[in-house]
Each structure stands twice: as structure tokens, then as C-alpha cells.
């Protein structure tokens, strides 16, 4: 019998590992394998969670207790959730797991001695679960190994939030299958960050990339707290057909004590574009590479490292809005190809 590993580095995993590393972890591994720069990091696999819960079950009941909760009795669920979360957050890791996590953290610090982001990486895939997974947690700018350990437990504890428990109980999911992976990756001290779509959100055009970007960490853009700069770039030609430089009043920056703070942007930078043209072209190449790799349009989060100027991808997931709308082809081949010209000469029909 092989001992299941508790930790996997991004380079060693891909999308097929999602049951053990979650969607976020699998995607980061896949990106790195495709040759795309992502912040260094590892995934705390579901096996680690399993090991942690089993150790905890020695002392107190966890899973059977959840299964006994009545989703229609909110008071009961709230009380249960509170206790279970406290239990998970307060427990210590089994020694071997503790050591594995600290070792991984040390190795990561050896590569890039910076604070880390700790993010839950849900193993479920369907759309409803994905939005539910959004309730789970992301902790930015985690500065020490002990904080990291605590944040991993907080992520796991989020499985026992009122919403999560209610969701699972309503569907009668067996608790034995419930697990969560956690991504730990080097924090990017972002000069600017944002999102991009490899398909126009406005028209569904597959030949353009829409980029949105603002100063500082990407959380300000994703959270809608700042109006980002916006560009539309020809995917193939690189033509920049739309340039909207916005007044970017605030930015998210790392706080000294860990976490992030909101800070006003200095007057000279507020109305300056947060990306240069060559950087936009680099972004375009990355977008094409990722899209080619996945074979479908992508919705990508990225950041520009303040020190190196390197563009790093934080996340990439399939675009869903337009791909569901794709219906009839614009035109089909016809037996006499000349008849196509009747679109022009035949008048409006």
C-alpha cells in the first residue's frame, strides 16, 4: 500500500487530478504544464483533508453529526456549524501532515520568499456547485507558516458553514465524499492586475480579447471596487480597437501585518493606463496559448509582478455565457458557392 501524498506541486498535476486537487489547483497545474507562468505553489490535496478529519473523528464525531442535521431547522444548523467550524479551526494537524505542510512551505519560501495566498479549491464541478464554491475562502498575503496552517484549516472549516451544510443536506450528499483541496501559492505583489476574456463579452466575437486592468491587486477589479481600464485587442492581428483608460481612484495593496488594504491612487497614476501596449501584446499571446491549450474560450485572472514586470496567471476557467448561446452557423456551404453573392446582390430578405 502506498501512503497517499498530502501535498502536490503545480508542475506535477493537471485537470485530471481535479478530484484530489480541486478545480483551482488542477487549472494552475494545467497552466504550468502548458508553459504559462503562474505563481509558484502547491496544493494541499483532499487526502490531507481526509487524514485530518479521520484523526479528528478519533476524538469527536464530525461527519455523522452533520448527517444528523435537519436543513430546515436553521437554528440547529447554525449551532452545529458554529461548533464544527470551531472544532476544525482549533484542531492541530496530525504530526506527519503538519510536517509535510511545513516542509512544503519551507520549500516554497526557498523558491520565492514572499507571503502566500491560501485559497480553497473545490472538487465539485457543476455550475451550481461552482457558484456555491465561491462562498469558500481566499486569504491573501499570509505571512508566516503558522498563519498558513491556520488558514488551511479555515478553508476546510468553510465546508461546515451554514450555507454549505444546508446545501449538502438538502441534496442528501453523503458526508464521506465531502472533501476540499487548498491551494497555497506565492502572493504576487501586483503592480496591476485584472481579468481577460478570450471572447468578447459584448458580442461573443471569438476574434477579440477583452482586457480589464487596474492598479494593485486583482481583488479590486474582481470585486468591482474600481472601474478598470479596458482594451479590446484583435486576437490574431493585435490591433487595439478599444482603449478606455478609466479614473482608477483606489487600489488594493498588501497590508504590512498581512491581508490587504484599500489605498487611494496618487493623482498622476489615476488616469494613466495600467498596461503598456507591449504588455498588452504579451497578454494576448498568453490568452491565445491558454485558449489553444483548453480548446475553448477562457475567462482568465492575471497579475503583473511589481518587481519583475512578469505577467502571471492566477486562474483560468472556461467562458460559459456565449458558449451556451452558440446556435446556428453564420452561413453554411452550399452546392453552388456562387449563390453566396446573392447576399449582396439579392437585396434584403
Amino acid at each position: 500500500m502506498t501512503i497517499p501524498s498530502h501535498v502536490s506541486w503545480f508542475k506535477d498535476i493537471g485537470l485530471q487530478d481535479r478530484p484530489y486537487v480541486g478545480g483551482k489547483g488542477g487549472s494552475l497545474g494545467e497552466l504550468q504544464r502548458a508553459g504559462i507562468a503562474v505563481p509558484a505553489g502547491f496544493v494541499v490535496r483532499t487526502e490531507a483533508f481526509e487524514r485530518f478529519v479521520l484523526a479528528l473523528e478519533q476524538r469527536s464525531t464530525i461527519r455523522s453529526r452533520v448527517e444528523r442535521l435537519d436543513p430546515n431547522d436553521l437554528q440547529q444548523v447554525e449551532a452545529g456549524s458554529k461548533e464544527l467550524r470551531a472544532l476544525v479551526e482549533g484542531a492541530s494537524f496530525p504530526d506527519d501532515l503538519n510536517e509535510a505542510l511545513l516542509e512544503a512551505h519551507r520549500e516554497l519560501m526557498g523558491k520565492s520568499p514572499f507571503p502566500v495566498a491560501v485559497r480553497s479549491s473545490a472538487t465539485t464541478e457543476d455550475a451550481a456547485d461552482a457558484s456555491f464554491a465561491g462562498l469558500q475562502d481566499t486569504f491573501l498575503w499570509v505571512t508566516s507558516a503558522s498563519d498558513m496552517l491556520a488558514r488551511i484549516r479555515t478553508c476546510w472549516a468553510s465546508l461546515y458553514s451554514v450555507e454549505s451544510i444546508t446545501y449538502r443536506r438538502r441534496r442528501n450528499f453523503p458526508e464521506a465524499g465531502v472533501a476540499m483541496a487548498v491551494v497555497v501559492q506565492t502572493m504576487v505583489d501586483a503592480r496591476n492586475a485584472g481579468v481577460m476574456f478570450t471572447r468578447s463579452p459584448l458580442t461573443g466575437d471569438r476574434s477579440v480579447i477583452t482586457v480589464e486592468s487596474a492598479w494593485g491587486l486583482g481583488s479590486a477589479v474582481v470585486g468591482g471596487e474600481v472601474t478598470p481600464d479596458r482594451w479590446v485587442i484583435g486576437k490574431i492581428t493585435g490591433e487595439i480597437s478599444v482603449r478606455t483608460v478609466s479614473d482608477k481612484a483606489i487600489e488594493h495593496l498588501p497590508a504590512e501585518a498581512g491581508g490587504i488594504l484599500e489605498s487611494p491612487v496618487s493623482e498622476d497614476r489615476r488616469n494613466s493606463p495600467s498596461m503598456s501596449d507591449p504588455e498588452l501584446q504579451n497578454l494576448r499571446q498568453i490568452a491565445r496559448q491558454v485558449e489553444r491549450h483548453y480548446g475553448c474560450a477562457q475567462d482568465i485572472e492575471w497579475a503583473v509582478d511589481r518587481r519583475s514586470g512578469q505577467i502571471l496567471l492566477l486562474q483560468s476557467r472556461p467562458e460559459t455565457v456565449w458558449s451556451m448561446k452558440d446556435a446556428a452557423p453564420v452561413a453554411s456551404a452550399i452546392e453552388n458557392p456562387l449563390l453566396h453573392v446573392m447576399n449582396v446582390f439579392g437585396g434584403r430578405r
Binding site: 492581428t237 453564420v330 456551404a333 456562387l338 449582396v344 446582390f345
Partner: protein
């Protein structure tokens, strides 16, 4: 709806007064070109793309012959289902045109049946018919070249008498003149034989791309279709070749800014073997490639490079400097071909299904088949043949001015083509009777009057359009050739009512953003005012101004679409260009600071 805020039409033709003092000159144009009260009911637009300046009486033949031929092909030859020909009128020297759409569904259906038998035959046999077209064109050019110079000897040459020719020299004036005119009308039929079908096939592909990729730029579609070795690039390529040649022969020091052609030619002739060699190379380039005129061939004063070498030679110092800086100046044809192929493949890959890809393949295949004609015909028609035509008329001008009909041979262009014939017959008569011709006491005053009228008309801009705006513009000819759509008319109307705007919108013709000083060029003669880095603002940018494209930083025009030659040359030179703005030349001051965003089609006035 919002008719309170949005103007719904342009001035009526009847409200457009003939400028005081120019009434006689206006009346000189044939009756069928004059506006009538009936014309108020129709929509007209100023064809400033082809006729950016007031037309002299003779030059109206360029509109007449062109619309006669265009209409024949649309209405009677290929039978376009939804449109007949284009009517034209002239007021204050400005040419207004209006399409004749077909709207009755039954009639469209009837014409469609005809169209399928005619146009489709052309598409199916395109290569064969186009090869035949080139032969016809070369025959026509040969015939024009073979026409004798008009001359009247004092006595009929003895050999004519002894050979029993039986027809005196004065008859050959009329004969040559009529053949000259006939050849010109014929040329325009050739010009339109393929043109609408060619544009139509291109627009079919264009329409598909716009649906499949709603945000694709016009110029990207144009790049997928445009050829690399079209004749229109050739004259400029010859100049680059001559620049390389001058450097290779080590005579480049003779080519300096500001030297006259005569000075240069004299110096080269005296420069021994290398100078002679270069002059021989120049002759190779000139025939036929310098048969390109500095306009679009619609004005007699758009002289060809062959007629006035100063235009092409002025660009040589710039090209020579680039050769010496290590540039090859050669257009990398293989690379351009490969880029186009890649572009087509890349967009193809983005399509949503194999079904769409199959349709895309069909449409671009047809566009590629027809496009050589669209790109190539201008060199033969508007340039080469047109130069021969105007120069032949000029020979008549020389003969008539020799007989004191007017002071200068160029004055002949102030007469309509009917009046030229009457002057020739006057001269023929006088030669035969031994009396004095009547012309010398008749024409000089009229010529002066008409010259003054043109000068006056040129001072006053004309409205971009006249009459009520149609609900839809569904006429493929108007859309294809002039890029006029309901949207562009609305933009013109907005521009009219919103004179404070600091932005001018047009077609995004060539990518890039540039700031610079505006140089508003209203006629070919003003080209020399352009300085390095200026932004060219004109009614219609012209590809045969190619050499000035190495000087300017960007181009802005009143009229033109993304496939206008201006757009093609701008892209070739990598210059931002915004075309089809409707009114840039009247809204932009000479010397004003501008920002031109060729990717968005926006010109911003900076001061």
C-alpha cells in the same frame, strides 16, 4: 420619434443656388446634367471621392462616360437585381449622383433570373474572361497610341494626291477626335465589365466576416483579400528599384532635394557610363509604369509621371537615403503572402464549426479569384488609357491655340466635348474655304469666364448630400463603391448639426495612432505644401500620391471606404488613416494639431 433633435434631410437641390457671376459657365454643361425641380424628390450625394474639385467643361466627359458605362452594365448587361444605373447632375462644377434602386419584389425576381444567367457566367468563367479583358484593353491602348497627331498642312501632301487617297487632311481632324472620344467611352465599358461583380464577391466575404466576428476591423478583412502584386503598387516599386539602382551605380549624390528635373537629367547625361545606365533604367520603368497620374484620372490636369517627372523624381532622395541606411526597400513578397495565408488560417480556426469553415472557404476562394481585377483595372483604365486620352485632346488644344482659338493649349479643357468638336469643324471649314476661323473671336472670352467660374466654385464647399434621406440604402453599387450607408449619412447629418464636436468620425482604414499638424490639401497642386510628419487631410486620398506617403504621418479623407486605394496604400506604408469622414476638409483648419486614430476611425482636433 426623435425627429425634433435629429435633422432628417439635406438641403434640396433647388435650394442650391448657382454662384452669382458663374451662371454662364453653369449653363455650358449639357442640359441633361442640370438639376430640375423633379430632382428635389430624390436623394443625391456629392461624389467628392471621384470629383473632389469643380469640374471644367471638358472634364465632365469623365463623369458622363463613366456613368453611361456603369449604368449599362448594371441595368442591361448583368442585370443587377436591386439596382439600375446611377444618375448624375452638376451644379457649381460639383458632381452629385443618385442611385436608381429597384424595390418591386416582382421586378427584383425577374431581374434575378437574368442576373443568374449573366453574372454567374462571368463568375464561372472569370479567369478566361479576365485574360480576354486584358487583351481587349491592350488592343484599345494600342489603337489610341496609333492615332495620328492632328495636323493641317498648307497643301495636301503630294503622296496623298498621287495615291488617290481622296480624303483631305481636315477630315482626319474630325476622324481622330471622334475616335479619341469613342475609345474613351469604350474604355469605360471595359472598366465596369467586371467591377461590380468583383466588389460584390468581396463584400459577400466581408459580410460573412462581420457576422462571424462582429468586432473584426474592416482593414483586417481587406488584408485577407488584398493581393500583393497588384499593378497599383508597381509604379512606386519602380521608384524604389531606381533608388537602389542609383546607389549601386554610385550616382546617388546627384539626387538632392530641390533640383529641377532638367538639372538632374543634364547632370546624369554628363555623368558618363553610370549616368547613361541609370537613364536607360528610367526608360524601362517609364514604359508603361509611369503612365500613372497624380490623381484618379478624372481631371485633365492630373498629369502622369511620364508627363511630369518631377513628381516621381522628388521621392528619390528619400528612397536613396533609406537604401543607404541599409534598407532593401523591396516588398518582401513571400513574407507578405505567408502573412496573408496565416491570417486567413487563423480566423478560419476561430470559426465555431466545420460547417462555417466550409462556407468561409467558399467565399474567400471566390473573393481571391475576382480580386485581381478589382485591384488591377485602375492602372489600365484610369491611368494608362486616360493619360493617352487627355494628351490626345491636348494635341488638339495645341493645334487650336496655334490657330489662335485660345492662348494656351490647356484652354481646350474649358470647352465641352461637343464644343471641341464644333471648334474642330470651325477650323476644318476655315482650312477648306481659305477664310479665317470664327473661333479666335468666339472662345477666348468664354474660356476666361469659365476659368473664373471654376476659381469661384473652388472657394465654396458644397454640401455632402442633397434631398431627403432614404430610409435604407440597399443599393449595392452605392454601398460598394462609395461606402455610403444609412449610418454614414446619419453621421454626416450629426456632423452638420454638431459643429462644436472635437471629434470627426470615419472609417477605420489603417491602424495606428499619431499626432501631428494638419495640412489640408484641396487639389493636387497643393501636394508640395506637405512637410515631413504632416497629417494629410484631403477630400480623397489617392494611391498615386504614393511617394508622398513616405513623408506624411497619417491620412484623413472626406470620402472613401476601407478598400479605397488610399486605405490600401496607407496600410502598405503602415500609416494611420481615417477615410470617409464626410467633412474633414471643411472642419479641420490648415495647421491645426490633430490626433488620428486609424484603428478606431476617429480624428481628434487638439486645438
Amino acid at each position: 420619434m426623435d425627429s425634433m433633435t435629429k435633422p432628417t434631410g439635406f438641403p434640396l437641390p433647388s435650394s442650391l443656388a448657382v454662384l452669382p457671376g458663374t451662371e454662364a459657365a453653369q449653363a455650358a454643361y449639357p442640359y441633361y446634367m442640370q438639376f430640375t425641380p423633379e430632382d428635389d424628390k430624390r436623394f443625391w450625394f456629392y461624389n467628392s471621392m471621384h470629383f473632389p474639385e469643380p469640374m471644367s467643361a471638358f472634364d465632365m466627359v469623365t463623369a458622363e462616360a463613366a456613368y453611361v458605362a456603369l449604368g449599362s452594365v448594371n441595368t442591361r448587361v448583368h442585370c443587377l437585381p436591386t439596382t439600375l444605373g446611377i444618375d448624375y447632375r452638376i451644379v457649381n462644377g460639383r458632381v452629385y449622383i443618385g442611385g436608381n434602386g429597384v424595390t418591386d419584389p416582382e421586378e427584383i425576381n425577374r431581374r434575378t433570373q437574368e442576373f443568374l444567367q449573366r453574372a454567374f457566367y462571368y463568375y464561372e468563367n472569370w479567369e478566361k474572361l479576365y485574360a480576354q479583358w486584358k487583351e481587349k484593353m491592350m488592343t484599345l491602348i494600342g489603337e489610341a497610341q496609333a492615332l495620328p497627331a492632328p495636323a493641317l498642312p498648307e497643301f495636301e501632301p503630294l503622296e496623298h494626291v498621287h495615291s488617290g487617297r481622296g480624303v483631305a487632311s481636315n477630315h482626319y481632324l474630325l476622324d481622330t477626335y471622334q475616335k479619341t472620344l469613342e475609345g474613351y467611352y469604350r474604355m469605360w465599358h471595359h472598366h465596369f465589365e467586371f467591377l461590380l461583380l468583383g466588389y460584390g464577391a468581396y463584400l459577400t466575404f466581408f459580410g460573412f466576416c462581420k457576422k462571424a466576428f462582429p468586432e473584426i476591423s474592416d482593414q483586417t478583412v481587406a488584408r485577407m483579400v488584398a493581393g500583393m502584386d497588384a499593378e497599383i503598387f508597381r509604379p512606386d516599386e519602380e521608384l524604389r528599384r531606381l533608388a537602389r539602382c542609383a546607389v549601386d551605380l554610385r550616382i546617388d549624390s546627384y539626387f538632392v532635394e530641390g533640383h529641377s528635373v532638367d538639372e538632374l537629367m543634364a547632370q546624369l547625361a554628363a555623368a558618363g557610363e553610370p549616368g547613361k545606365k541609370w537613364l536607360a533604367e528610367l526608360e524601362i520603368s517609364r514604359h508603361p509604369w509611369f503612365n500613372i497620374n497624380v490623381g484618379d484620372g478624372f481631371y485633365h490636369y492630373h498629369r502622369s509621371w511620364n508627363d511630369d517627372l518631377s513628381m516621381p523624381l522628388a521621392s528619390l532622395p528619400g528612397y536613396i537615403a533609406r537604401v543607404k541606411a541599409g534598407e532593401s526597400l523591396e516588398r518582401p513578397m513571400d513574407q507578405l503572402q505567408a502573412e496573408r495565408k496565416q491570417l486567413i488560417a487563423d480566423y478560419r480556426e476561430l470559426l465555431s464549426s466545420d460547417e462555417e469553415r466550409a462556407a468561409y472557404d467558399q467565399m474567400i476562394t471566390l473573393a481571391h479569384r475576382v480580386f485581381p481585377y478589382v485591384e488591377g483595372h485602375k492602372f489600365y483604365c484610369e491611368h494608362w488609357y486616360t493619360n493617352l486620352f487627355f494628351n490626345k485632346i491636348r494635341e488638339f488644344g495645341a493645334l487650336l491655340s496655334e490657330h489662335r482659338f485660345f492662348a494656351d493649349k490647356e484652354d481646350i479643357f474649358q470647352l465641352t466635348h461637343y464644343e471641341v468638336e464644333s471648334a474642330i469643324i470651325d477650323l476644318m471649314t476655315a482650312w477648306s474655304t481659305g477664310s479665317h476661323p470664327r473661333g479666335p473671336s468666339h472662345w477666348p472670352k468664354i474660356v476666361a469666364e469659365r476659368r473664373a467660374a471654376i476659381a469661384e466654385w473652388a472657394k465654396h464647399p458644397s454640401p455632402p448630400a442633397l434631398g431627403p434621406v432614404p430610409d435604407i440604402i440597399d443599393d449595392p453599387a452605392i454601398v460598394m463603391l462609395w461606402g455610403i450607408t444609412r449610418e454614414s449619412l446619419d453621421a454626416w447629418l450629426r456632423a452638420d448639426s454638431d459643429t462644436d464636436s472635437h471629434e470627426i468620425h470615419g472609417f477605420a482604414a489603417s491602424n495606428g495612432v499619431v499626432e501631428g499638424t494638419a495640412r489640408v490639401v484641396r487639389s493636387v497642386e497643393e501636394i508640395s505644401r506637405l512637410k515631413q510628419g504632416d497629417i494629410l487631410v484631403c477630400q480623397v486620398t489617392n494611391p498615386t500620391w504614393a511617394p508622398i506617403f513616405q513623408k506624411i504621418a497619417a491620412a484623413v479623407s472626406d470620402i472613401g471606404g476601407s478598400m479605397s486605394h488610399a486605405a490600401i496604400v496607407a496600410r502598405e506604408y503602415g500609416l494611420p488613416a481615417v477615410v470617409g469622414t464626410g467633412n474633414a476638409t471643411s472642419k479641420i483648419r490648415d495647421g491645426q494639431r490633430l490626433r488620428v486614430d486609424g484603428g478606431r476611425g476617429v480624428v481628434t482636433l487638439l486645438d
